[in-house]
Structure formats: structure tokens, C-alpha cells
């Protein structure tokens, strides 16, 4: 008779209840939500295109060339861009909240959007139609502006209150944003010929999204998401007090710097093609915290999935509620996000993260 000896030491210990981990069920739910929202995003539009046609197009089957063209050049890139923008904004929001220990931190709070808007406005007003190496100068200018705003906020917060104070950094971001906004408004008012174009930029649009936009931001988005994802455990540690984290041998400053740079890089990239789409970084991570848990091991990966799904759906809504016209997507996210922001503000203590 065969007997099997079990080495007690080799048996993995029963997982203690309460250990943080991402459950497959939630990861599956996130993937499902993402797939479903992409389905909706591809199917919704002024021209009716059936599910069968979409599948045929994807697998390279014979379809009406007009419909195939609509799918390949309009809807697919738009959905893909929605995924990139939504996933990045949500993960960047969660990352900023972790680093600054402030539940209200958002890619927009640090001045990223104000910086991007100023950059874009300057480009539209002063150098319309210019391109550098074949790339429209507007997104590039927005990218530079966002980076400048966030590094400005970081430098200011650091010099005034030191890195020990999270609120100092956020106040610095708000100040920088106000300053950038004032310059932006001035430029906008003095250049009335381009005001409409500036508005459509600021309110956010995925209307003109194409594969070149996807390719433009993909490297930054990937870099940003991967870097933040790798730091998810350290973000959990940052929720302790300053001395406590440091006494665990964790290089607090380095973690903060890397995560902030990564989140800003991602934000700047998506603002550059998506315009101002606010509150995604607040709505998505907080909903996950409420429903699933507060560990960044859970919040970070799920933010990417649900953020992407949320934005693709919001974009589908933006295309349908006033059809045949389109609402800027920022209108939808702000309409949902502002009340949510107030609810978070009322219910969370700022120190709770």
C-alpha cells in the first residue's frame, strides 16, 4: 500500500484571515466590467452596427467596408483611448491619495490640469496649427505645462512645509493651479479668435481620437501604470506615520517621488489627448475602497480596470444623451463626480488615509 508522507513544514500555512490580497472574484468582476463597457462603447453611435459585424471586423471577416471603416478609424481607437485615459486617471488619483494621505487628492488638485490647459491654450492661441516632427504641438504643450505645474507644486510644497506635511503640498498645488488658471484666462480672453477651440479642448473630448493619439500616450501610460502598480505595497506602508514608515527601512522620500512622478507622467499624457476630465481619480478609487477594501494592493489594480470601464461608459453616455450632438466627456464626469467629491469630503476625515 502506498502511503504518502506529508512534510508539515512544506505545507503552506493557512492564510491568516485579514491578510490583504486581491481576490480573483473582484479581479474577474473588473475585467468583466471593462469588457462589457468596451462592448457598449463600440456598439453605441449614430450609425447602427451590430455585434455580429463588430466580431466579424475584429477577426478579419468580410464586412461592409463603410462599417469596417467606422469601427477601425472611429470607434475602436476611441474606446481604446477611453480605456487608457480612464485607467490612468483612476490609478493616478489613487496614487496621489496614497502619497499625500488625503482622500481628496486628485490628478487635478496638484495643478496638472491647469498646467496642461495653460500649455494647450498658449499653443492654440499663439502658434495655431504648428506641429513638431509631425505631431500637433497642442498635446505636447499641454504635456509640458502639466509637468511644470506638478513639479512646481512639489517644489513649492517641499520648500515651504517640507515633505512631512501632505497638506502643504496640496495647498501648493491649489495655488499653482490658481496662478496657471489666471494666466490661461488672460490669454484666452485676449485671443478671442481661438476661444471656441480652447473651450472644446478644456472640456475634454475623445471625439477626434485616433490611433495616433493612442500611440502618442501609450508609452507614458504604460510606464506610469506599471510603476504605480509595483509600488502598491509601499503605498500601504505610507499610511503609517512618518517615523514609523522610516523605521521600517522604507525610503519614504524615494517612494513618494517615484509615485508622484509616475502619476504625473500618466496624468499629463492623458490630459494631453483627453482634455480636462475631472473626478475620475476621486470616484473610482473611493468606490473601490467602499465596496472592496482600502489596501492599495486592491485599490491600485482595480482602479485601472474600473476606471477604464467607467470612462468608456461615460464617453458612450456623452455621445448619446444629446444625440446627434455630443457632450464633452468632462461634463459627464463632473456631473457625477462633484456630488461624489462632496460626499467623500463629508464622510472621510482627511487623516484617515
Amino acid at each position: 500500500m502506498l502511503s504518502i508522507k506529508v512534510d508539515a513544514a512544506a505545507v503552506p500555512p493557512a492564510v491568516l484571515a485579514g491578510m490583504p490580497r486581491l481576490r480573483w472574484g473582484w479581479a474577474g468582476a473588473g475585467l468583466l466590467a471593462l469588457a462589457a463597457s468596451c462592448g457598449v462603447g463600440v456598439l453605441v453611435g449614430p450609425v447602427h452596427i451590430g455585434v455580429g459585424t463588430v466580431v466579424q471586423t475584429l477577426v478579419g471577416g468580410a464586412v461592409d467596408p463603410g462599417q469596417a471603416n467606422i469601427l477601425w478609424s472611429l470607434r475602436f481607437p476611441r474606446v481604446v483611448l477611453g480605456v487608457l485615459v480612464g485607467g490612468t486617471l483612476a490609478i493616478a488619483g489613487a496614487a496621489y491619495q496614497g502619497v499625500f494621505r488625503n482622500p481628496l487628492a486628485d490628478p487635478y488638485l496638484l495643478g496638472a490640469a491647469a498646467g496642461a490647459n495653460l500649455g494647450a491654450t498658449l499653443a492654440i492661441a499663439l502658434a495655431p496649427g504648428t506641429s513638431v516632427l509631425g505631431v500637433n504641438v497642442v498635446p505636447l504643450a499641454a504635456f509640458v505645462g502639466a509637468g511644470a505645474a506638478v513639479s512646481g507644486a512639489y517644489a513649492l510644497g517641499r520648500s515651504v512645509t517640507g515633505l512631512r506635511s501632505a497638506t502643504g503640498l496640496i495647498l501648493a498645488g491649489v495655488a499653482i493651479a490658481a496662478f496657471f488658471n489666471s494666466i490661461q484666462s488672460y490669454v484666452q480672453q485676449t485671443q478671442t479668435s481661438s476661444i471656441r477651440q480652447v473651450y472644446s479642448w478644456i472640456l475634454g473630448r475623445l471625439v477626434t481620437a485616433g490611433w495616433d493619439d493612442v500611440l502618442l500616450i501609450l508609452p507614458y501610460v504604460l510606464l506610469s501604470v506599471v510603476a504605480i502598480y509595483l509600488h502598491r505595497r509601499l503605498l500601504d506602508a505610507l499610511t503609517l506615520g512618518e517615523d514609523e514608515v522610516t523605521s521600517l527601512g522604507i525610503p519614504v522620500r524615494r517612494v513618494r517621488l517615484i509615485v508622484v512622478v509616475a502619476a504625473t507622467l500618466g496624468t499629463a499624457a492623458v490630459v494631453a489627448v483627453g482634455g480636462t476630465i475631472a473626478f475620475v481619480g476621486i470616484i473610482v478609487p473611493h468606490t473601490i475602497r467602499l465596496l472592496v477594501g482600502r489596501s492599495y494592493r486592491v485599490v491600485i489594480p482595480l482602479s485601472v480596470l474600473f476606471g477604464a470601464a467607467f470612462l468608456v461608459l461615460a464617453d458612450a453616455a456623452a455621445r448619446t444623451v444629446v444625440a446627434p450632438a455630443e457632450l464633452p466627456i468632462g461634463v459627464i464626469t463632473a456631473f457625477l463626480g462633484a456630488p461624489f467629491f462632496i460626499a467623500v469630503m463629508r464622510s472621510t476625515r482627511a487623516a484617515a488615509l
Partner: protein, 257 residues
Amino acid sequence: MSDIVLAGVSVAYDGEPVVRDLDLTVASGEWLALIGPNGAGKTTILRAIARLVSFRGEIRIGGRAVTELSSRDVARKVAVLVQEPQMPAGMTVAQYVLLGRAPHLGYLGKESSRDRRIVRDVVRRLALEELASRPLDRLSGGERQRAAIARALAQQAPVLLIDEPTSSLDVGRQQSVLELIDQLRKEQELTVIAAMHELTLAGQYADRLALLVGGRLAAIGSAAEVLTEPAIAEHYRAQVKVIQMNGSGTAVVPVRN
């Protein structure tokens, strides 16, 4: 070995000296209590040993200068229990204790099953099993203190620095926390340095007491040697009666004339 030597240690915050030219030696496995009036530099000394603040002079742990160690190496040698540990809302006890394994992981490293086993053992040792999946914000004061001790223990460092282990606890919980620390010290052969307010308790639990005044060492020795009426009157400006209780320590009792 985890003996600690401070030689000529000075610490200043923004140019203001807080600890001045301090020499101190703590034997491996010893419990040293840092006592002294508010602002005497007790917390700062703990922070210097854990290298949380920069200092002049030299601090050696087990013969090695802490300034020559990486911060992770320091964290493997020294666990710190701050006076008011920040307990993030929503974080479970198990997750909190697991953070204690951080010094043993790479920068972006993941906890192994060994790390999780250590956490499980620590949680079991401190009788926190029932509370393992409870959020920290739903613990009582005593339970929170136990969770904080568990996190420090999970670090498996031979030196434990504690800042006011009993503040905000009632007298029963003060005793049980100190008993627990003393048991753990003996089991795990820990070197303990604790800043302590309660002089009687400090005398009962620590092997030696170091009385600090204005960042300088005013006296060091056993409870009977350090806790004297003139010394306490001079340094704390307190009216006290010191009573030697046969075999159960030195009681410092405030008196009112």
C-alpha cells in the same frame, strides 16, 4: 549581540540642542528606562538610535555604527514603537502586522509564505487571532497597543525602542502591557530602551534607569539609586515621597503639603 553604545551623541533641531554630548551603554538583553521631565530629550534619543534624526557622535548597535548601515539594515536591528502609532482606518490587524516584515523585503518585494507565517505566529503570541481581520479603528486602546507591539515584533529586530508604552492606558492595562513586553524581552532576548513617564513602573520593569535633564545624563543606575527624593525634587520640581517596598520596587508617590 545587540548591545548599544552611544558615544558623545548630540542632536539639535533647527540649531536648538536637544541632546548634548551623551554617553550611554546598554547591554544586550537589558531593559533601560529613559526618564526625565518633559523636553529632556528622551524621544530624541530613541529617534537617534533608530536613525530617524541625524546626530553628531557615534551610535553603535552590536558593535556596528548605525551610520554605516543602510536604513533597511537598521530596521532589521531596531524596531520602534512610537508614542502614538498611526493606525490607518480600515486596515486590518493582520495587514498592519504584516507591514512589520517590510525591512526583510526588497524595495518592491513581496512577502513570502515565511513572512506570512511569522505574522501568524506573532498574532497568535499576542492573542490577537480573533482580531486579525478587524479594522484597526475598531480596536480598544489596549488592543491597539498590542497590535502595535505585534507589528514591532514581526520586524524580528533584536532591539526594541519604545516611546511611552503606557500613555493613555489605565493602570491595569499599563501593567499588562509592561508584563507582555518583559515576557517578550526574555523569550526573544530583546534589548529594550523605553522612554517612561511613570517612575514607579519604570523602576519596577527596567534593569536600569537613565535620568535625563536638558539633554544630559543626570543619573544612571538602579531604581533605588536614581529615584531619590532630592533628585526628583530638583529635576522634576515635584514633591514626592520615595518608598522602598520590600522586594517589589521603589514607589514614587506625589505628596501635597
